[in-house]
Symmetry: C2
Subunit: 338 residues, 2 copies
């Protein structure tokens, strides 16, 4: 046991643009045993999310920035290896901010034991029964407030969150149009997930295609991207439209300030709203969300895709897939077997 | 009677930047008598508003643009001179889109008879019991939703709408900080209207002064201006802040596209909202608003100032005071005596 090594990625520089290898330092440290009230957990999977990039930047956001020299912050799923805390029995599966490392020694703050369901793969607890599912569900239903018969547009539609948002939109009776990068992603949205239409922003004129695919205008827009796409949607919103502002991934890696949308004044003539939200505010309502998602999953109404990268050592390069748009579905890193 | 002349300003060119004299043509036409169901009204006052500039631009907004060659659209107060319509008796005072002219021949569509109160000057029906009062009242209370103890910031604070917004904010128990251009306007806000503080954007650092005057952050922002001021406020909003987007006067006269705020992503980490509104949506609730405004006026809690320009002929130049920021309070043009 004393030979166990905790491999870690520590953040040692503030990234400029995409993450670079030199922003991280690989460290190997001996694994300590838990003291009174502590547990030792072993990471099984890491969740890679756009918000990792925000956390690496030296700004106070909804969480403080990761300190230089600290293990990079990240969500994960882990198994309790040793426990001196009865709330986390040995063998339990936990989720929380386990970090970019093999092991975490902790008193359990911020971790929660997952009620693992038989037959459901562990990755479903990253892609669906997770902050991703909560973000899609509450961001769309609580902030976007879609009504049956309305038109919903979602950007980053082939991403982990966007792909769920569009499917939930279909479930509540909306016409759903996704915006994604590349023909393969767009085919997946329409042919497998049941979107009414998809727009390939890399090869198509987004403004023209929005008009074509949203003949009655846009009532709800779920925004993951920002920038020019937000501007294009603002130009075609209906009266009383709701824009749920989940993320603006087009800006996270920007090296110079990115101006906001030119069409913001359309919010006035359209009596429309842009509203930001943070998934942390909905944690207390997880059961409500996961019950619906589970029901829809069993009924075959909800699908998810996991983009799995193997090995902690590949984490710094894997995360840039989010910003290059080369992932489809939930991006995760497999760290170890259960 | 047949000698009466209807002097008019017709829009003959789309303005670039501020209005120029050459955007309008002065026309004098004989006044026609009303036919069946028609009335002839004589303008007493015109209301000059930032939205006039929007209407002159060739874009579909919440109203269609004024056609080239048409009498310039504008709100006004008029007296019924001749009537073949029992809903509008001779001598009644009406308000509505009477246009930049002496007389309007109409079936009365869009006009409403005003219940003129004794002792209340006619200009109060432009500055307070009007679209201005409705905009301030419902924009603040219905969209901004201020709570006692919260901090309210209002831009364009010495304008017709902004000056009411700040006073209503005080009435509902907010700390109120106004942003206006020039020391005289700022003194008026604090010394006469009871604002807690005012920031002179022409001579002070708005960001630094916002931090100083809003030590607990900003909960509600009533936006009349847009541009850099919106960005500065976005940087200091609190969680769950509400931005009521009334206007963006800094952009109406722009000759090149104006980028939106750089700090828009702050809406996410602050779970905050920007919401546009149009006063037309609140017309049906006028009574509710005017009852409160009247009560507050009588109680000395609400003051308004009228910036009165004399003569229809001066209208095209007078309206640019709004964009140059040289008006204080409600800008009106006196057309004729009652």
């Amino acid at each position: 046991m004393s030979e166990r090594v905790n491999r870690q990625w520590r953040l040692v520089a503030r990234p400029v643009g995409n993450f670079k290898d030199s922003d991280f330092e690989w460290r190997e440290e001996p694994v300590q045993s838990p003291g009174d009230g502590q547990i030792l957990v072993r990471n099984l999977y890491l969740s890679l999310d756009p918000t990792n990039r925000i956390w690496a930047t030296d700004i106070e956001s909804y969480l403080p920035p990761v300190g230089l020299g600290d293990v990079m912050r990240g969500g994960g799923i882990a198994v309790v290896e040793e426990s001196n805390n009865e709330k986390f029995p040995k063998g339990a599966i936990v989720q929380g901010l386990t970090g970019w490392q093999d092991y975490l020694l902790t008193d359990g703050a911020g971790l929660s034991v997952m009620p693992v369901m038989p037959g459901v793969p562990l990755t479903a607890y990253l892609a669906l029964f997770s902050h991703i599912g909560l973000t899609a569900y509450f961001g769309l239903l609580d902030v976007g407030k879609p009504q049956a018969g309305e038109t919903l547009v979602v950007s980053g539609a082939a991403g982990a969150t966007g792909s769920l948002v569009g499917q939930i939109g279909k479930i509540v009776g909306c016409r759903v149009v996704g915006i994604a990068g590349g023909a393969a992603k767009c085919r997946w949205l329409v042919e497998e997930l049941g979107f009414d239409a998809a727009i390939d922003y890399k090869s198509e004129n987004v403004s023209a295609k929005l008009k074509e695919h949203c003949p009655k205008g846009v009532d709800v827009y779920f925004e993951n991207v920002g920038g020019e796409i937000l501007d294009a949607v603002l130009a075609v919103i209906n009266n009383k439209a709701r824009i749920a502002l989940c993320g603006m991934i087009s800006q996270y890696n920007a090296t110079t300030p990115v101006p906001g949308p030119y069409n913001l004044a359309n919010l006035i003539s359209r009596r429309a709203r842009i509203e930001g939200f943070i998934v942390l505010d909905y944690m207390a309502r997880s059961a409500e969300c996961f019950t619906d998602l589970g029901k829809w999953l069993m009924a075959g109404k909800l699908k998810y895709r996991v983009d799995e990268v193997e090995g902690l050592e590949n984490t710094p390069r894997a995360i840039n897939k989010l910003f290059e748009g080369t992932n489809t579905g939930k991006l995760v890193v497999k760290i170890s077997d259960l």
